[in-house]
């Protein structure tokens, strides 16, 4: 991080975003895998649905 009057380096900005994006993308990926179970898991028995 520059403390002088020079402009912030775009590389520094990219690195800063990478530091937070990598764990976030990893988390979203894991959550998406979990979310996919809603669409890929089928009931073992096709019990008739009805009011309980």
């Amino acid at each position: 991080m520059t403390e002088s009057g020079s402009k912030s380096s775009p590389v520094l900005v990219a690195i800063a975003w990478a530091v937070v994006s990598i764990p976030l993308v990893w988390g979203i990926y894991n959550t998406s895998l979990n979310a996919a179970k809603l669409f890929t898991t089928t009931p073992a028995t096709s019990a008739p649905a009805g009011p309980r």
Partner: protein, 459 residues
């Protein structure tokens, strides 16, 4: 102390040429860390399985208090320290948040190792909770000052991180516990120590990266409005004055009601979908539904807050309170007894949860519009007590009604329409509260000869 002088507000003022896009990663580093709290449920079963030296076990109710204490302390510390955070500056606030949140894990790990629940309450609940409160407000308020042209986007970026934090915290904890268990170590104490260290390092990245704008700074090419326009004020209001305005309490209601309604779904997401689609959606798929809601929650925080920059804050909440009641009313009709459409249920619940998240992320910009950026941390901190309120009332409504139906010998399924229709009513009350919000009267405005310079970007 001289060693810590780098934390002073004056030392964190951005030099000319500083790129403001370095600040969102700093804010995200904090929120992605403290958002872990929403993944605490991953520890419930492992904590239940812990055995003390005397063979004793903790019960579910006692373990449940750990999360409740953390959230209650979050609200309290945000309200108590909000004013101090504004004067101390974000770097000091974030540093203390990192120390408290990291130390909370370390203390709690000792509690788990020694099977002393009070140490877990003290560590994760109280010390960690102070870290949550300190870490929650400061990044949001700082970003809003860096993005006076897009305060909604700014709030959305930070608060999206809080939603994303749970997505990181849950798999991280699961993988660490499996790793330590396979290595023959005590899973929870080792996991908490590792997580404490990991989050401390990530939060310290935020501490070293964050900057505050210099007095008079404004984004290139942006001209602040010359005078107040509609709901956006060009004046500042001090926190003591803000508390006297009806607008503060109306927004408190808006946040409390929107959050209470959202908790109505979040609290019962997994059992609700299984009950409404009995035999069609099983436990594993219901777990997937919770994952879908997490994605909607995070996306809603960013999208709705960003849209509010174009639609206006009042209109955004108007849309929430218009769509929300309709969907809550509609939700029970998607079940097996009526339309039998899992897709419609998931989509409706997803939109409702995006509104829940959107409420959190849009409210800081609403406060900034009405009260100016000067005391926004302090005002925001006090408004967050609405979250604590909703965190207690929401589950009380949902669990109370479910218990009542079960006690009456009725099926749980019959309780859901009642619960969801109550949520409809709450959101209609929110609609009225939001419609009553008007610009702040001139008598509450602060004079510009304050004891502290008005934050850059304000004028």
């Amino acid at each position: 102390m001289a060693a810590f002088s780098f934390l002073d507000r004056d030392r964190s003022i951005a030099p000319p040429g500083f790129n403001r896009w370095l600040v969102p990663p700093a804010a995200l580093a904090i929120h992605l860390s403290i958002g872990q709290v929403y993944a605490f449920s991953v520890f419930k079963n492992p904590l239940l399985a812990l055995t003390g030296a005397d063979g004793s076990h903790w019960d579910l109710k006692a373990i449940g208090y750990i999360f409740s204490i953390a959230i209650a302390v979050l609200g309290l510390s945000a309200a108590l320290f909000g004013k101090w955070l504004e004067t101390a500056g974000p770097r000091k606030a974030m540093f203390l948040a990192a120390v408290c949140f990291g130390a909370g894990f370390v203390i709690a790990s000792q509690g788990a190792a020694l099977h002393q629940l009070w140490l877990v309450y003290l560590g994760y609940g109280v010390v960690g909770g102070v870290g949550l409160g300190m870490g929650y407000i400061s990044p949001v308020a700082t970003l809003i000052k860096w993005f006076p042209d897009r305060p909604g986007l700014a709030g959305g970026m930070a608060i999206m991180g809080f939603g994303g934090g749970a997505m990181i915290g849950s798999p991280l904890a699961t993988k660490l516990m499996a790793f330590y268990k396979a290595g023959g170590h005590a899973a929870i104490p080792s996991t908490w120590l590792t997580m404490g260290l990991f989050y401390f390092v990530l939060m310290m990245f935020g501490v070293f990266t964050v900057r505050v704008p210099a007095t008079g700074w404004k984004p290139e090419g942006w001209t602040p409005p010359a005078k107040s326009a509609g709901m956006i004020s060009s004046h500042n209001v001090k926190v003591q004055q803000a508390m006297k305005t009806p607008q503060f309490w109306l927004l408190w209601l808006v946040l409390a009601l929107n959050t209470t309604a959202g908790i109505g779904i979040l609290e019962q997401a997994s059992p609700m979908i299984q009950d409404l689609f009995h035999g069609k959606v099983l436990a594993v798929a219901a777990g997937g539904f919770v994952g879908v809601l997490s994605l909607f929650n995070m996306a809603g925080r960013f999208i709705w807050a960003s849209l509010s920059d174009y639609m206006g804050r009042k209109t955004t909440f108007f849309v929430f309170f218009l769509i929300g009641p309709v969907l809550y009313w509609f939700l029970p009709l998607t079940g097996s007894a009526h339309m039998d459409s899992v897709a419609l249920f998931v989509l409706s619940a997803g939109v409702l949860i995006s509104i829940y998240g959107g409420g959190f992320s849009t409210i800081p910009a609403y406060l900034r519009d009405l009260y100016g950026p000067y005391d926004v941390s302090a005002i925001y901190g006090r408004l967050l007590t609405a979250w604590s309120f909703a965190g207690i009332v929401g589950p009380l409504i949902v669990n109370g009604i479910l218990d009542h139906y079960v006690a009456q010998g009725q099926a749980k399924l019959n309780a859901y329409p009642t619960i969801l229709h109550i949520m409809t009513g709450l959101l209609i009350a929110g609609l009225v509260a939001n419609l009553l919000v008007r610009p702040i009267q001139e008598k509450y405005w602060m004079t510009e000869t304050a004891d502290r310079p008005v934050a850059a970007g304000a004028h």
